[in-house]
């Protein structure tokens, strides 16, 4: 068992012999173990030996203690009820696996209301964080099999299931162990039935969540626990998001190695220098100012990576991943195969942070070779992390190319206020000055449908639209439009319209069918920007392992081949629980459910319950202020606008920045506006900031002088009386006047 538990990510401690043999010591040790740990921890206790039920309590018997003695003396047995201990602790989950009740003699030793594994006698029946897992049901015994050697049937089945790493949650494990026990018993005709069972107190939604929690994920939450504990403004945070493709090749050189190489040695110095020039001195929304040291070393770097499988291991994992995506200064996405989960995470990142992102493709693809890029990412400049052909000597051109990208990216980020390397950041924010262009669009006005535009999924779109309409009608709800973006009657560019609708519509239905990368990118963006979340649906035929998959056409199967990542899809399905429909089915249940959810959902009313549907949005709200650069102070904003129209150095250096400067009027407009912006900025510093505050703030004082000087020059160039008078006033303000 120890080996099997280690394989699924557990640290294992074997209870020493003397403790196991003494009931009081064993009880103490078990309770100490169960009661320690934090909310993220899972404490798993495995016991194999004898047990019995006395006075409505299930107990285990210490090694070497006789059953008779244990039956009469409570100091000779150990209760399996740890609910009170768990209730007094913060530990996330305590799972007590009990492979006892070896023979009939272990069955109830005294009269009582319950049978072996009955939870009614628990001290704290409402304590969802305590679950027992018995090797057999009431009135059964845990049997021993002799092949491949004498061992407990239950433990044998349990270990085998864990070794296969095919089950992540207790729900999964229970089903698989039961099936395996059945299989083992089928070939042993002399054996009695044995059905392992879980024993929980009162079953609530919290219990169901814990049963679905991926506690047997070999990497999952453990991998994400290696993320930086908090955002440190004085460090560079680099995150690598690996694909399932890469996760299946843990020993192959890949993006994580590429980034690690790029962030060490001379290459690391170059990256740091570029990063520092872009971010040093930046003030964040929460008021902190980034002070990045000149020298680069390990202490100034926070680097982490996780696979897409880790991110979707559970709700907590996803929240951690989302926080890291928001916090990272540099994210390298492994877009090999444009897997749906990676696209979803990229969508979240694209919406929440204007940082540096490198989307990198491996699997033999090299830059310059053809690559089918999803519709929404057509503008993407994709990097290659296919390993170089020879490892012998010389500079690794793959690493060098990546470093150049990052250097250039940070340099552009510094110079261009609108820098983007993923789509959507500005489009979900810049909705227009008119207030009417930003409020929520209600269900009665529009339902936004995000779905694949590929011909293989065309029938799904039509079916979903029709079914939604009928379900709305059945529920007596009024609506005007159920539309995909391309159905929206506007000449506006598709992407611009799409992101506005993603932000504004309350009712957004996302159809996973066909696993379109664009749809998952849009879903990520939607989850990041809307507290209304998304209502997700999937055609049953597209579910992993679905019987209905056989109904897919050959074209659809072929189309799906490169998109469908089984484990990723399983995890995402478990986490997001899309409503399953069957195209062509006459059953109204699926879409009635969709419409019910759509019409009842309200993030304000639902807020106290912290609903799963806006988990991503809520996670971002918690961290965004600590990572987002503050809006520029008004003076800086005015100066930057002025400089971008007509820089002070322009006269001697180069051509005007405005396009079509050959047009006299265009140039005049730019120069005049720049002058007025500088005058406005100077007057703000003169009257709003004032001399006293400028005196204490060397930066403001320097700005005051620079803006004043530039304004004076421009005003004298204008040469009219009013301008010259104002120039003279500014000169006096600067201490230069008469």
């Amino acid at each position: 068992m120890g080996k099997s538990l280690r394989a699924v990510g557990y640290e294992v401690e074997v209870c020493p012999g003397p403790v196991v043999g003494k009931a009081t010591d064993l009880d103490l040790r078990i309770r100490e173990f169960a009661g320690s740990g934090g909310a993220d921890d899972v404490r798993l206790i495995y016991f194999s030996g004898h047990g019995l039920r006395v006075d409505d309590k299930d107990c285990i018997i210490p090694a070497g203690t006789s059953r008779d003695l244990a039956a009469v003396s409570d100091s000779q047995r150990v209760s399996t009820d740890l609910s009170a201990t768990v209730a007094a602790s913060d530990v996330g989950l305590v799972l007590f696996i009990i492979d006892a009740c070896r023979d009939r003699a272990d069955l109830p030793a005294s009269k009582g209301f319950g049978a072996w594994g009955d939870a009614r006698g628990l001290a704290r029946p409402g304590m969802a964080r305590f679950i027992r897992y018995f090797g057999c049901a009431a009135d059964q015994v845990c049997q021993v099999i002799d092949s491949p050697g004498p061992s407990s049937l239950f433990t044998h089945a349990l270990a085998a299931c864990l070794d296969e790493q095919a089950c992540l949650s207790l729900d999964d494990l229970l089903k698989q162990v039961e099936t395996r026990c059945g299989t083992l018993l089928d070939v042993r005709p002399g054996f009695s039935p044995q059905t392992p069972q879980l024993s929980c107190g009162e079953v609530t939604s919290a219990t169901h969540k814990l049963l679905a929690r991926p506690i047997f994920d070999p990497v999952g939450e453990a991998a994400l626990s290696a993320l930086w504990p908090a955002f440190d403004p004085d460090k560079m945070h680099c995150l690598v998001v690996l694909s399932e493709y890469q996760a299946g090749r843990p020993y192959e050189w890949g993006l994580a190695q590429l980034v690690a190489n790029a962030l060490s040695g001379n290459a690391g110095d170059r990256v740091w220098s570029a990063f520092r020039s872009a971010r040093d001195g930046e003030t964040l929304v929460d008021g902190r100012r980034r002070a990045l040291p000149e020298a680069f070393d390990a202490s100034t770097l926070a680097i982490a990576s996780f696979s897409v499988l880790d991110a979707f291991a559970g709700g907590d994992s996803l929240e951690k991943a989302v926080r890291a995506l928001a916090q990272a200064d540099l994210v390298a996405f492994d877009v090999t195969g444009f897997e749906p989960g990676v696209m979803l995470l990229a969508g979240i990142r694209s919406a929440c942070r204007r940082g540096l992102n490198v989307c990198s493709h491996g699997n033999g693809w090299q830059e310059g070779a053809p690559l089918a890029i999803p519709f929404n990412m057509q503008d993407l400049n994709v990097n290659s992390h296919t390993q170089r052909k020879s490892n012998v000597g010389g500079k690794d051109e793959v690493v060098e190319r990546f470093v150049q990208r990052v250097e250039t990216g940070f340099s552009q980020l510094r110079r261009q206020p609108g820098y983007l390397d993923l789509p959507g950041y500005d489009a979900v924010r810049q909705l227009g000055r008119d207030y009417a262009s930003s409020p929520t669009i209600g269900l009665e006005e529009q339902i936004l449908l995000l779905c694949s535009y590929d011909k293989q999924a065309r029938d799904n779109w039509q079916f979903v639209t029709e079914q939604l309409g009928q379900a709305l009608w059945r529920r007596k709800l009024k609506w005007k439009r159920i539309e995909r973006i391309i159905d929206y009657g506007t000449p506006q560019l598709v992407l611009q319209a799409l992101y506005e609708q993603i932000r504004r519509t309350a009712a957004c239905v996302v159809d996973w069918s066909d696993y379109s990368p664009s749809v998952f990118l849009e879903l990520g963006t939607r989850l990041a920007v809307s507290e209304w979340g998304a209502i997700q649906v999937i055609d049953e035929r597209y579910r992993p392992d679905s019987e209905a998959a056989k109904d897919l056409t050959r074209d659809q199967v072929e189309h799906l081949k490169n998109r469908h990542k089984l484990e990723q899809s399983r995890r995402m399905l478990r986490l997001f629980e899309p409503v399953v429909y069957r195209r062509g089915s006459s059953s109204a249940a699926s879409f009635d459910r969709v419409v019910e959810v759509m019409s009842c959902r309200n993030p304000t009313f639902d807020g106290a319950a912290k609903p799963d549907y806006n988990r991503v949005y809520r996670a971002l709200v918690q961290v965004i202020a600590e990572v987002q650069p503050a809006l520029a102070p008004v003076v800086q904003e005015l100066k930057q606008q002025a400089d971008s129209l007509h820089h002070r150095s322009q006269g001697k250096k180069s051509v005007p920045q405005v396009l079509y400067s050959g047009s006299e009027k265009i140039k005049l407009d730019a120069e005049r506006t720049a002058t007025e912006l500088r005058v406005a900025a100077w007057l703000y510093l003169e009257y709003r900031v004032g001399a006293a505050r400028r005196k204490d703030d060397p930066e403001a004082d320097a700005l005051y002088r620079e803006l004043g000087g530039a304004a004076i020059d421009a005003l004298y160039d204008l040469g009219d009386d009013e301008s010259m008078e104002l120039a003279a006033q500014i000169e006096i303000g600067l201490g230069q006047g008469d």
Partner: protein, 242 residues
């Protein structure tokens, strides 16, 4: 230590240039507005004094620059640019103050640096020629070869470097040279580019200088005056109506 000296020199010259620019613009505005000439000259003098002071302070850096072999890079190149510009700007202010000999000396010093380091800038060299035309006794004919050499140099530099094409003043200098050589059509094209690339007020200032030279040549009955008048006409025709 060496780089620090260059950096100091750059800062000093840039600061002096800022003062001089304001002084020049203010003086020009006041002169156009008909303010008292004494006051105008005093304004120019503020800028000239700042430049003069700055240039003197950075003599050690200048000596270092002069000991270097072109092409210069980094801070040394930047320092050279600022120095050449400061010397030229001082010449411009002296010229406005009618201190022609000092102005010519400045232009000559700046021109020597332009030549020594094979800079694409020709401001000092061209202004030296224009000032000699303005103050006499040189005639257009006598300066023909110098002007042609300068025109060839600018044209070659503009053809060699697309980035240099962005510099409005390079096209103005070429337009002036071609105009003085009587190549009116080419001059007009160069001026058109200059107008498109320069700040709004720059062509007006260039035109003012050409008009002053034309007036001086006319007074001396220079036989080639028609060439310059054609150039003035070409530039003026491309400027917007006031």
């Amino acid at each position: 230590m060496f780089m620090q000296t260059m950096r100091d020199a750059i800062d000093i010259l840039q600061q002096a240039l800022k003062v001089a620019t304001t002084s020049r613009k203010k003086g020009d505005a006041w002169r156009r507005a008909g303010r008292d000439e004494g006051a105008v000259l005093a304004v120019y003098d503020v800028g000239a004094a700042a430049l003069q002071g700055g240039i003197e302070v950075v003599v050690p850096a200048r000596q270092q620059l002069e000991s270097m072999t072109p092409p210069l890079t980094g801070d040394a190149a930047l320092c050279l640019d600022e120095m050449v510009e400061s010397i030229g700007a001082l010449g411009g202010l002296r010229q406005r103050m009618a201190q022609f000999e000092q102005a010519l000396a400045s232009y000559a010093a700046g021109g020597a640096l332009e030549e020594r380091f094979a800079l694409p800038d020709t401001y000092n060299r061209l202004n030296a020629i224009k000032l000699r035309l303005l103050t006499g006794p040189a005639s257009l004919q006598e300066l023909q070869a110098e002007i042609k050499a300068l025109a060839d140099l600018i044209e070659a530099a503009l053809r060699a470097s697309q980035a240099l094409s962005d510099k409005g003043w390079a096209w103005a200098d070429l337009g002036d040279c071609l105009g003085l050589l009587g190549r009116t059509e080419e001059s007009a094209r160069a001026y058109a580019t200059f107008i498109a690339k320069a700040e709004i007020k720059s062509p007006e200032r260039a035109l003012d200088v050409l008009k002053q030279i034309a007036a001086a040549l006319q007074a001396r009955a220079d036989p080639q005056i028609a060439r310059l008048q054609s150039a003035i006409h070409a530039l003026q025709g491309r400027l917007p109506s006031p």
